[in-house]
C-alpha cells in the first residue's frame, strides 16, 4: 500500500512548526509499512496538483500569503480535480483561509481565495488577535474526541457551515467565537498549530484513512503506541481544566 502526499508551499507557508504535521503523517505510515511519498510544490513550478491522495498546506504571515495567492489561484483547476477525485485535504491557518472566499488583511487589502467553500476571513485589530493554547471537542468522520493546539491568528473566519470542533478553551474561528475549524468528509481545515498532529494522533489517523480511501478504499490502521502523544495532549487538557477520560 502506498500514499502520495503533496505539501503545498512548503518553503513559504511553514509558520509555527506546521512541518511537524508532515513528519507525523510520514512516520505513522512508515510504522505501518505503508509507503509514503511526500512531494512539494512552490511558486511557479507548474506541478500538477491532481493525482495526490492528500494535500497539505500550512500557515504563513500576511507577507507570504500575498506572495502565493496568485500562484494558488492559478492551480484552481487542478485542486478542483483533486477534490472531485476524492483526495483528502489538511489545511492549517493560512491554508484554511485561502480555500474560502477571501482574506482581508490588516491593511484592508482583499486577497481572493479559491472559493471552494463559503466561509471568508477578515483581519481584526491587535486586541482581538486569537493567541494561546486551545482545547476543543472535535467531531470528524463519526468520531468525537478532544484535541489540543495553539492558535495564533488575526483573521476572523466567518460563515463556516460545518465547524470541526466546539471550543472548550480558547477562541476558534473568531475571537471568543466558540467554534473551531471547518470539516467535510474530505477537508479538514483548522487554526490549530502546535503542530496539530503530534499531540492529536487520532486526527492524524483519521486524515490518513481519508487519504488512503481514494485508492485503497476503507483501510483499518494498525494501532500504534501513543503513550507519549497522549501524555502530551492530556498535560495540556488538564492544565486548561477541560480534560475528560476517553
Amino acid at each position: 500500500m502506498n500514499l502520495k502526499i503533496l505539501w503545498m508551499y512548503h518553503d513559504l507557508m511553514d509558520l509555527y512548526g506546521d512541518k511537524g504535521n508532515i513528519q507525523v503523517l510520514k512516520t505513522r505510515c512508515e510504522r505501518r509499512g505503508i509507503d509514503c511519498q511526500v512531494d512539494v510544490c512552490t511558486i511557479g513550478d507548474g506541478l500538477d496538483v491532481s493525482g495526490y491522495d492528500l494535500i497539505f498546506m500550512g500557515g504563513g504571515a500576511d507577507f507570504e500569503q500575498n506572495l502565493i495567492y496568485q500562484d494558488l489561484l492559478s492551480r484552481r483547476e487542478g485542486l478542483q480535480k483533486a477534490l472531485d477525485d476524492g483526495a483528502a485535504f489538511l489545511l492549517i491557518c493560512g491554508g484554511y483561509q485561502l480555500f474560502g472566499r477571501y482574506y482581508k488583511d490588516q491593511d484592508g487589502k482583499i486577497v481572493e481565495g479559491l472559493g471552494f467553500f463559503d466561509y471568508y476571513t477578515e483581519s481584526t485589530d491587535r486586541d482581538h488577535r486569537c493567541i494561546g493554547n486551545i482545547a476543543v471537542q472535535a467531531a470528524m468522520d463519526g468520531e468525537v474526541f478532544q484535541a489540543v493546539g495553539f492558535e495564533n491568528h488575526g483573521g476572523q473566519t466567518k460563515n463556516v457551515a460545518t465547524p470541526f470542533a466546539r471550543v472548550l478553551k480558547g477562541h476558534g474561528n473568531t475571537y471568543d467565537g466558540g467554534y473551531e475549524g471547518f470539516v467535510t468528509d474530505q477537508v479538514l481545515a483548522t487554526y490549530m498549530h502546535g503542530s496539530l498532529l503530534p499531540k492529536n494522533p487520532r486526527v492524524a489517523d483519521l486524515v490518513l484513512k481519508r487519504a488512503l480511501r481514494r485508492r485503497h478504499g476503507q483501510v483499518e490502521l494498525e494501532p500504534l503506541d501513543d503513550t507519549l502523544e497522549k501524555k502530551a495532549r492530556d498535560t495540556m487538557l488538564t492544565r486548561l481544566g477541560v480534560r475528560v477520560e476517553d
Binding site: 509555527y16 506546521d18 491587535r126 495564533n152 488575526g154 503530534p198 507519549l228 502530551a232
Partner: protein, 436 residues
C-alpha cells in the same frame, strides 16, 4: 525634583543594599510617571542594540569597548531589556535632576517593544543584529516587528548599524533615508555552505517580491544574497570580515587579526557588529580586541558546571539559536548525554511549536547516548524527538532536580539546553549539585 525619580532611586539603593537587583524601581517610576524614560537628559552617545539573537552579548561587548576607549558608560548588562529594566538602569545612572552621569548609554532593547522606546530614548546610534523567528505568540508575526522598526527609523538621523547579511535587517536601510547607514558583513569561510535546510525567513526581495539568490549561507538565512531584478543585497559593507580562522579562534577585519570570544560564526557576527559601530563613531577598534579576548559569556551561555563529568548549559529560545547550540554540542568530542528543559511561561514564549522548526534530528548520532526531557512541556519535547527516531534514547524526567541528579550520576559529559525561565532555576540546581 521628580517623585518618580526619587522613588526609583530610593528603591534601587534599598534593593542594592539587600544585595538584590531587578526592575522594580523602574516599574514604580513608570507607574508614577508614564513619560519617565523621556525625561532623562541623555549623554552625547546613546546606542540602542536590538534584534532577535545576540543582543545581550553584543551590547555588553559594545559597552566594554567604549570603556576601553576611555568613556564612562551606563548599560543594562544583565539583559533587562523592557521599559521597566531600562527605566531602572537610567534612574541608577542619573543625578536627582535626570542628568545621566556618563559619556554614553548602551541599551539592549527588546525588539518587540523598541518602537515604543525609540523616541523617548533619543538614540544616536541603532544597532540591529538579526531577525529570526522567535516567540511568535508574543509578536504576532515577524513581519510586524520589522515594519514597526522601519516606521520609527524613517526620520532617524543617527548611525544605523545593520547586519548586511540578513535581508530582514537590510530592509531597514531602504526606509531610513536620513540615517547614516553602516553595514557589517562576514565573507565566506570554512563553515559557509551553498545550500541550507535552516533558512525560513527572508527568502524574498522586500522591494520586488522575487526570490532572493543566495551565493552562500553562514547560518539560518544569514549569508550573501542578492535580487536579480533590482540591486537589493548588493552591499558596500563598512566593516567586512573576509576571513575566519576557526583553528586559531581568530578573524580578520581591515587588515587586523582579532580574537573571537566564542569560536562560532555568530560570535564573529557579534564582533563585526561591534567593530562596525566603533568605526562609525571614530573610536579605536583595537581596544575591542582586548574586550573580545577577555570576554566571558553571560550566565547560561556555554556555561560549564563540574558535575561528575563536565556539564555545559545553554539557553535556547528559538529554532536558530537551538540549531547553533546543537552544532556546538555535536562539535564536542566523545559520548554525551543531552538534557532539554522546555518551559512555556510568558518569557519563554507560550507557543512551543517552534521546536518543530528546529533541527533536533541532528541529535540522532551515536555519540548522543541518552536525551532527558524536562520542564513544563517535557512531553512535547519528547514527542518531537520521538518523531526523529530517538525514541529508544529518550526519557522524560519531569522534576528538574531529579533530571540534574540523573545527569550527575551517569558519569558522562552532558549538555543542557534550557528555555529562558528554566535557565536560572537549572543553574541553581547545578550549583547545588556541584557542591555535593
Amino acid at each position: 525634583m521628580s517623585i518618580a525619580l526619587k522613588l526609583a532611586q530610593l528603591s534601587r539603593s534599598l534593593l542594592a543594599r539587600a544585595g538584590r537587583g531587578g526592575s522594580l524601581p523602574g516599574t514604580i517610576a513608570l507607574k508614577a510617571d508614564p513619560d519617565f524614560i523621556s525625561r532623562f537628559k541623555m549623554p552625547p552617545k546613546v546606542i540602542i542594540v536590538t534584534g532577535t539573537n545576540g543582543k545581550t552579548t553584543t551590547s555588553n561587548l559594545i559597552a566594554e569597548s567604549l570603556r576601553k576607549n576611555g568613556l564612562k558608560v551606563i548599560n543594562n548588562h544583565r539583559g533587562d531589556n523592557l521599559n521597566v529594566g531600562i527605566a531602572t538602569v537610567l534612574a541608577a545612572g542619573s543625578d536627582s535632576n535626570f542628568n545621566i552621569q556618563a559619556d554614553a548609554v548602551v541599551l539592549e532593547v527588546d525588539e518587540l517593544t523598541v518602537y515604543r522606546q525609540f523616541s523617548a530614548l533619543r538614540p544616536t546610534a541603532l544597532v540591529v543584529t538579526n531577525f529570526f523567528r522567535d516567540q511568535l505568540d508574543r509578536a504576532g508575526e515577524m513581519e510586524t516587528i520589522i515594519r514597526k522598526l522601519m516606521e520609527v527609523t524613517e526620520n532617524f538621523e543617527g548611525d544605523l548599524i545593520l547586519n548586511g547579511d540578513d535581508p530582514n535587517v537590510l530592509r531597514i536601510a531602504d526606509n531610513a533615508k536620513k540615517a547614516r547607514v553602516r553595514l557589517f558583513s562576514v565573507g565566506p569561510n570554512e563553515k559557509t555552505r551553498t545550500e541550507t535546510d535552516e533558512a525560513s525567513e527572508g527568502k524574498f526581495c522586500p522591494r520586488c517580491g522575487n526570490r532572493l539568490i543566495y551565493d552562500y549561507y553562514q547560518y539560518s538565512h544569514i549569508g550573501r544574497f542578492h535580487c536579480d531584478h533590482d540591486d537589493f543585497g548588493q552591499i558596500q559593507p563598512e566593516l567586512l570580515v573576509p576571513e575566519i580562522d576557526f583553528a586559531a579562534g581568530t578573524f580578520t577585519a581591515e587588515g587586523h587579526v582579532y580574537h573571537s570570544f566564542v569560536n562560532s560564526v555568530f560570535g564573529v557576527y557579534n564582533c563585526a557588529c561591534v567593530l562596525c559601530l566603533l568605526k562609525a563613531l571614530g573610536l579605536s577598534m583595537e581596544a575591542a580586541d582586548e574586550v573580545f579576548i577577555g570576554y566571558e559569556l553571560k550566565e547560561g551561555r556555554n556555561e560549564e558546571f563540574a558535575l561528575s563529568k563536565p556539564c555545559v548549559i545553554n539557553l535556547i529560545k528559538n529554532p536558530t539559536g537551538a540549531n547553533e547550540v546543537m552544532k556546538y554540542i555535536l562539535s564536542r568530542p566523545g559520548d554525551k548525554n543531552v538534557c532539554i528543559f522546555l518551559n512555556d511561561n510568558d518569557q519563554d514564549g507560550t507557543d512551543v511549536s517552534w521546536i518543530w522548526d528546529a533541527h533536533f534530528e541532528r541529535l540522532n548520532v551515536p555519540e548522543v547516548k541518552r536525551i532527558i526531557c524536562s520542564g513544563k512541556r517535557a512531553y512535547d519535547m519528547a514527542l518531537r524527538l520521538k518523531y526523529e527516531g530517538l525514541e529508544d534514547r529518550l526519557q522524560v524526567i519531569e522534576d528538574a532536580g531529579e533530571a540534574v541528579r540523573w545527569l550527575d550520576e551517569q558519569n558522562l559529559d552532558s549538555y543542557i539546553m534550557a528555555t529562558y525561565t528554566a535557565l536560572h532555576s537549572t543553574r541553581a540546581l547545578l550549583r547545588k549539585q556541584v557542591k555535593r
